[in-house]
C-alpha cells in the first residue's frame, strides 16, 4: 500500500510535534506547515491525501484554505482542529468544506481514528446487504446473522454493527459512534455508548466464537475481520 501523505497546518509547535509523532506512528508521511501561505504552496506542489487544519493561524483562518481548495474543485479530505470551543464552530467548519471537526483539546487517539476514517471513507448508502467474514447484515430487512445464527439485533444495534463492519481493523471512538450512529454532538455524562456496545458484543460474539468486536482501552472499538 502506498504511504499516505498528510498535510498538517498547525502553528503551535507543541501540538504539532505530538500530532507528527502520532502520524508517524500510524505510518503516514507528514508535511508540516505553520502558515496558510505555506500550506497553500504545499497543496499545489505535493500530492496530499488528507489535511489536518488548525483554524487560528498567524495569517488567517484555516477554513479559508479549505474553502479556497474546494472552490478549485479539490476534494482532499480535511480534518479541522480548533480551540474555538463553540457549538457552532463545528457547523461552520463543516460548511466551509471541512470533512470532520475536532475541537481542542482532543485525544490523539481521536485524531488518528478520525483521520483514518477520512482516508478510508467507506462507500455508504447503496449497499443494503453487507457480508463481512461470518457476518451477514441485511439492512433492508433489519436482520443480522453470524454464520447463519440470527443475532436478534435492535435497529440501533444493527446500525452500530454496520458502522463498525464497514471500518474493519480501524479504531472507532465513542464520539465517532455518537456522532455518526446516533447523530449527537454532545458527550453524555455516562458510559451509554459502552453499555450499548457491551450488549452488541454479547449478541454478536457468541459462546466459543472468536470476538469480532474488540474494546481498545481508553480508545474505542475495533471490528476485527477474522482470518
Amino acid at each position: 500500500m502506498r504511504v499516505t501523505r498528510i498535510l498538517l497546518l498547525e502553528d503551535d509547535a507543541g501540538t504539532a510535534t505530538e500530532i507528527l509523532l502520532e502520524l508517524a506512528a500510524a505510518g503516514h508521511e507528514a508535511l508540516h506547515r505553520t502558515t496558510l501561505a505555506g500550506a497553500a504552496e504545499a497543496m499545489r506542489e505535493s500530492a496530499i491525501d488528507a489535511m489536518i487544519v488548525d483554524r487560528q493561524l498567524p495569517d488567517g483562518d484555516g477554513l479559508d484554505l479549505i474553502a479556497a481548495l474546494r472552490a478549485e474543485g479539490r476534494r482532499t479530505p480535511a480534518l479541522v482542529l480548533s480551540a474555538l470551543g463553540s457549538l457552532d464552530d463545528r457547523v461552520r467548519g463543516l460548511r466551509a468544506g471541512g470533512d470532520d471537526y475536532l475541537p481542542k483539546p482532543f485525544a490523539l487517539v481521536e485524531l488518528a481514528a478520525r483521520l483514518e476514517a477520512l482516508l478510508r471513507r467507506p462507500e455508504e448508502g447503496r449497499a443494503t446487504r453487507l457480508i463481512v467474514g461470518p457476518l451477514d447484515l441485511d439492512l433492508l430487512g433489519g436482520t443480522a446473522t453470524r454464520a447463519g445464527r440470527l443475532l436478534g439485533l435492535l435497529p440501533r444495534e444493527l446500525k452500530l454493527l454496520d458502522y463498525l463492519a464497514r471500518r474493519p481493523g480501524r479504531i472507532v471512538t465513542r464520539s465517532m459512534l455518537l456522532q455518526d450512529v446516533w447523530g449527537y454532538t454532545f458527550e453524555p455524562n455516562s458510559n451509554v455508548v459502552d453499555v450499548h456496545m457491551g450488549r452488541l458484543r454479547r449478541k454478536v460474539d457468541g459462546e466459543g466464537e472468536p470476538a469480532l468486536i474488540r474494546n481498545v482501552r481508553g480508545q474505542g472499538y475495533v471490528f476485527d475481520v477474522p482470518g
Binding site: G85, S86, L87, D88, V91, P103, P105, A107, R156, W182, Y184, T185, F186, E187, P188, N189, S190, N191, V192, V195, H196, G198, R199, R217, G218
Partner: protein
C-alpha cells in the same frame, strides 16, 4: 487620585454672567425710565415757557416789568427765571443778570444763567427760552433745573442701592448653581474613578423626586447594576472553573505521584497512566461543559432553531439510556404523547433530556423505576422525568442549576448536568420545574409562537 473640579470657578462664571445680566437690565430700565421722565418734564417746562412768552407778549409793554416782578414775587421756591432785556441786551427787570450767550429763539435750551436773587450763587443751570416782545425787548423765561438734577441723582442712587443686593444675589445664586453643577460633575467623576479602580458597588445618590440630572443618575445606577451583575458572572465563571478543576487536579496529581513512587513494573505504571488519562479526560469534559454553558447564553443560536418532534426525541433518549438503566437494574419506562412539536435545537434538547434521564438513573435508587413522560397540556409539551428516590432537596433546587454546584453527597460527576439543562431550557424559553413532594423534574416547553413571520431569521 481624585482631584476636585478645577472649574469650580464655574460658580464664579455663573455668578458673573448673572450679575452682568442684572446690571445690564437695571441700566436699560433706568435709562428708559430716565428718558421718559425727562422727556415729560421737558415738555411740561416748554409748555410753561411758551405760555410765559405768549402772556408777556400780550401784556402791554409798560406793565411788563411790574407784571414780571409780581410773578417773581409769587415764585416762593425761587425756581423760575424771568428777565426782560432791552434791544441792546440790558436788563430792564428780572432775576437774571444777562442774556446767555447761546440763545436759540423759539426753542428751549439748557444753559447757564447768572441769577441775581439767589444768594451765594453766580451761576445756575436752567432750561430757558428767549422770546422777542412786540416792542423789540426780549423776555428770558426759564426754570431752574436743580430739581431735575436732584431727581436724576435720586434715580441713580436708587439704582445703585438696588444694584448692590441684586449683584450680591446674582453672585450668590451663580455660585450656588455653579457649585451644584460642579458637585454633580464631581460626583460622577468620583464614581467613574472608583469604577476604573475596579469598585462597582458605589451608586449615585438619587433623591425621591429626582430632577432631570437625578433621572440621568438613576439611569447610570441601573447601568451599573447590570454591569456589576455581568462582572460578578464573569468572576463566577472563573471561580466555577477553579472549583471544578481543583478536586480532579488534586486527585490526578496524587495518583501520578504515587504511581511514580510505587509502580514497580510496566503493568502497574500503565494502570496509573490510564487512570491519569481518564482523570484528564474528565477534566477536559468539565472545561468543555463550562464553555458550552457560556455559549448557551448566546441567544444568537436561536436563529438556527428548527422544528423538533419531541416525541421522537424523548423516545430516542430513552433508547439511548435503556441499556444503561437495565444494567443498573433500573426499569426505564417511556410514555410518549405523540405529536408534540417545538422549535429548538434538536441536539441541545436531546442533551437536556439525556441529562435528566442520566441523573435519575444514576442518582435514583438501584433496582428502582425511572419514568420518562411526554405530556401535552394545552399547547405546551411537558417532559417529566421521575424516579422513586428522594429527589433534590428543596433547599438545593436553585443551587443545582448553578454552574459549580455538586450535591454534598455526590462525589463523582461534573455537577454541571442540571446547570446545562437549565441553560438549554433558558435558551429555548422553556422552564425547568421541580415537582413538589416527589423526585421529579419537568421540562415545560410552551408551543412555539407562530414563527412564520421571519423575525427570528436575520
Amino acid at each position: 487620585m481624585f482631584r476636585a473640579d478645577p472649574v469650580a470657578r464655574t460658580g464664579w462664571r455663573w455668578g458673573g454672567a448673572l450679575a452682568a445680566m442684572l446690571v445690564f437690565q437695571s441700566l436699560v430700565l433706568t435709562a428708559i425710565f430716565w428718558g421718559f421722565a425727562n422727556d415729560n418734564h421737558r415738555r411740561a417746562i416748554e409748555h410753561g415757557l411758551a405760555d410765559d412768552c405768549t402772556f408777556f407778549a400780550l401784556t402791554p409793554a409798560e406793565e411788563r416789568p411790574e407784571e414780571l416782578r409780581e410773578r417773581l414775587s409769587r415764585d416762593i421756591h425761587r425756581e423760575q427765571f424771568l428777565a426782560l432785556f432791552d434791544a441792546r441786551g440790558r436788563l430792564i427787570a428780572g432775576n437774571v443778570a444777562r442774556l446767555p450767550a447761546a440763545s436759540g429763539v423759539g426753542r428751549s435750551i439748557v444753559a447757564a444763567v447768572a441769577p441775581t436773587e439767589l444768594p451765594g450763587r453766580t451761576s445756575d443751570v436752567a432750561r430757558l427760552t428767549v422770546c422777542a416782545m412786540p416792542d423789540g425787548t426780549r423776555l428770558l423765561t426759564g426754570v431752574d433745573l436743580d430739581d431735575a438734577e436732584e431727581a436724576l441723582r435720586l434715580v441713580w442712587r436708587s439704582l445703585l442701592l438696588a444694584l448692590a443686593p441684586g449683584l450680591l444675589l446674582a453672585l450668590g445664586v451663580g455660585l450656588m448653581l455653579g457649585r451644584r453643577a460642579a458637585r454633580q460633575v464631581d460626583a460622577v467623576r468620583r464614581l467613574t474613578a472608583r469604577i476604573v479602580a475596579g469598585d462597582l458597588r458605589e451608586r449615585l445618590p438619587v433623591s425621591r423626586r429626582p430632577d432631570s440630572v437625578g433621572l440621568l443618575w438613576a439611569q447610570v445606577n441601573a447601568m451599573l447594576d447590570r454591569l456589576q451583575l455581568l462582572v460578578a458572572d464573569v468572576r463566577g465563571i472563573g471561580d466555577d472553573i477553579a472549583h471544578q478543576l481543583r478536586t480532579p487536579l488534586t486527585r490526578l496529581r496524587a495518583g501520578l505521584e504515587r504511581g511514580l513512587r510505587e509502580a514497580s513494573d510496566r503493568g502497574a505504571f500503565e494502570r496509573v497512566m490510564e487512570r491519569a488519562l481518564a482523570e484528564i479526560d474528565a477534566l477536559l469534559g468539565v472545561v468543555a461543559a463550562l464553555l458550552r454553558l457560556r455559549e448557551l447564553e448566546d441567544h444568537e443560536r436561536r436563529s438556527r432553531f428548527t422544528q423538533v418532534d419531541l416525541a421522537r426525541l424523548v423516545e430516542d433518549a430513552c433508547d439511548l439510556h435503556r441499556p444503561m438503566a437495565e444494567d443498573r437494574g433500573v426499569t426505564l419506562v417511556c410514555l410518549v404523547h405523540a405529536g408534540v412539536e417545538v422549535r429548538g435545537d434538536p441536539s441541545l434538547l436531546m442533551e437536556a433530556v439525556a441529562n435528566l434521564i442520566d441523573n435519575s438513573v444514576k442518582f435514583g435508587p438501584a433496582l428502582g423505576r425511572v419514568s420518562v413522560e411526554l405530556d401535552r397540556r394545552d399547547t405546551a409539551g411537558i417532559i417529566t422525568v421521575r424516579d422513586d428516590g428522594e429527589g433534590i432537596a428543596v433547599s438545593e433546587r436553585s443551587l443545582v442549576t448553578q454552574r459549580a454546584y455538586r450535591s454534598p453527597g455526590v462525589v463523582r460527576g461534573a455537577g454541571l448536568g442540571l446547570a446545562m439543562v437549565k441553560g438549554i431550557a433558558d435558551l429555548h424559553g422553556f422552564r425547568l420545574h421541580f415537582v413538589e413532594g416527589e423526585s421529579s423534574v419537568q421540562l415545560i416547553c410552551p408551543a412555539p409562537v407562530d414563527h412564520t413571520s421571519p423575525n427570528s431569521s436575520r
